[in-house]
Amino acid sequence: MANATTQTDIQQSIVQQQKSEQRKKQILNLVLLVLLLLAPAVMYPVFLMKILCFALFAVAFNLLLGYTGLLSFGHAAFLAAGSYTTGYLLSNFSGLTTEMGILVGTAAATILGLGFGVVAIRRQGIYFAMITLALAQLVYFFFVQAPFTGGEDGMHGVPRGHLFGLVDLSNNYAMYYFVLAVFLGGYLVVQRIVGSPFGQVLKAIKQNEPRAVSLGYNVDRYKLLAFVISASLAGLAGSVKTVVFQLASLNDAHWHMSGEVILMTLLGGTGTLLGPVVGATFVVNLEYQLAQGPLGDWVDPILGGIFVLTVMAFRSGIVGEIQNFMRKNMS
């Protein structure tokens, strides 16, 4: 019976530890929230919104790469699906409120994600990546050819409209706080998912798929659900981005964009919640800074170099390396 008491002790200490980690996470969330609330006082809101949109995109992508172990090379398609759908709706139906346009754009990306997922999910590793890439290219050519997208020119002058028909979003500050709310919502959703029973199964699948199968999990269904959620949030990022910049363009659908989100996620740290946010902030900033200076034509090679350096020397990314460092030196 002495054994039973140690068992309960250990159990309690585990629950305690969970709680203290939970608290740490909440504190971190709070710090992030305060920083983002104050940010427009020191930085240009449109630039901040760009960061937030890409951060949400990368957070969505990381749900797959970091927590499910699936490398999609076609996430641009979902960004673009959200982007074009919302752009088209807001441009053509003036009665539509902004949030409806965004919701329908997100729904379009979700459905597209379901289609991609059903086709691709049975394949693994490089084959999965290639199928998602191929499908995303199909979507790209659709957006080039379709009559309503404006082809090479894209859609311009998408009205920002009124949120709930009330708040005028043409004001950059109003727009910023709306984007911030959407971003935080998406971030918290992913945080919740990762910690949920479903998230545990995703982790198990990532770490040892055959074992997960032998424990009775139909892994394809779990992967599909993760894929659809990820596509949905990527679409949300695209929809919001269109409203911010009043623009939907082929850039969003190009495979270059699929590569960029991989870069952001790896650079910030896969499998950490904050990693993709930091990665997106870093990349967007760097692109902006370089474009200002004399190195404007060198953006891609410089990003490429950083990418190589990250993969070779800092596998865990910025946030991952910081976490490792803290773990080593603080415990």
Binding site: I10, R211, L215, Y222
Partner: protein, 258 residues
């Protein structure tokens, strides 16, 4: 109950592009037995295992579990029915704690695993059962250790505990003592014996010492088909068995005898 055989295969065949890896295997595993599948390297033991758990699709033949035809079922569905396997290379979730490893198995029956909106704390009610299972394999103090940091023997013990969490009726163990020192081997033998209470075990095993200690019945495979079957004494006295082990793989026999 009525059917004394938990698992039965009928004329099981697996061909890989013309190479017959498993040839007309009729296997009957009696309820409550610890049944060993032995044979020299390349005899098709692991292939049979993979067929039984649907990690490979049989070319021909039938697999029956408690009289029910499970030939066309999927791996995950079979696991839910109570046929759970372990793997040759230790199969754990390396970046989860020992407790979480087992919890993932228990969760499989909770029916809440698609609930991505639920808090992770809802899983804590499974902790008690996890601790019991960890205790049964002597891992209590490692409950909160990340699995990758556990020694090899402990990983295998954890794997067994995870498998037992599934409450399998039929436990399939693929070389549970592979790559272990003699101390660990003895521990695993005890664990398997304990685990086998109230259930049936089919194991692939190279270590004949382990087989002689544990198993009620032994099936010898050679070149994809069943050579002979019987209890350990019968099988080890069979001259044909000696021949397949000695002929060409004499060293194997010596190794196994140790």
């Amino acid at each position: 109950m009525s059917d004394p055989f938990v698992l039965e295969t009928q004329s099981l065949v697996k061909e890989f592009k013309g190479f017959v890896a498993v040839d007309d295997v009729n296997l009957k595993v009696q309820s409550g037995h610890i049944h060993a599948l032995i044979g020299p390297n390349g005899a098709g033991k692991t292939t049979v295992f993979n067929l039984l758990t649907k990690f490979l699709i049989p070319t021909r033949g039938k697999i029956l579990f408690k009289g029910e035809d499970i030939t066309s079922m999927k791996s995950a569905a079979i696991a839910r029915k109570g046929v759970v396997r372990s793997f040759q290379i230790s199969a754990v979730f390396p970046h989860m704690t020992a407790l979480e490893n087992i919890r993932v198995a228990l969760q499989s029956f909770e029916g809440n695993s698609f609930r991505f909106w639920k808090s992770g704390e809802s899983l804590n009610k499974l902790n008690e059962r996890c601790m019991e299972l960890l205790d049964s394999v002597g891992l209590t103090e490692f409950a909160n250790t990340t699995t990758v940091e556990l020694a090899y023997g402990r990983k295998r013990a954890l794997e067994l505990a995870t498998t037992l969490a599934m409450e399998p009726e039929l436990l399939l163990l693929d070389e549970p003592t592979q790559g272990m020192g003699s101390e660990d081997v003895d521990r695993v033998v005890e664990l398997v014996r304990k685990a086998a209470q109230g259930r049936t075990v089919l194991m692939v095993e190279h270590n004949l010492g382990v087989v002689s200690k544990l198993c009620d019945r032994v099936t010898v495979l050679a070149q994809g088909s069943v050579l002979t079957e019987g209890d350990y004494q019968q099988v080890s006295d069979d001259p044909r068995v000696r021949e397949v082990y000695m002929g060409g793989t004499a060293t194997k026999k010596q190794e196994a005898a140790e």
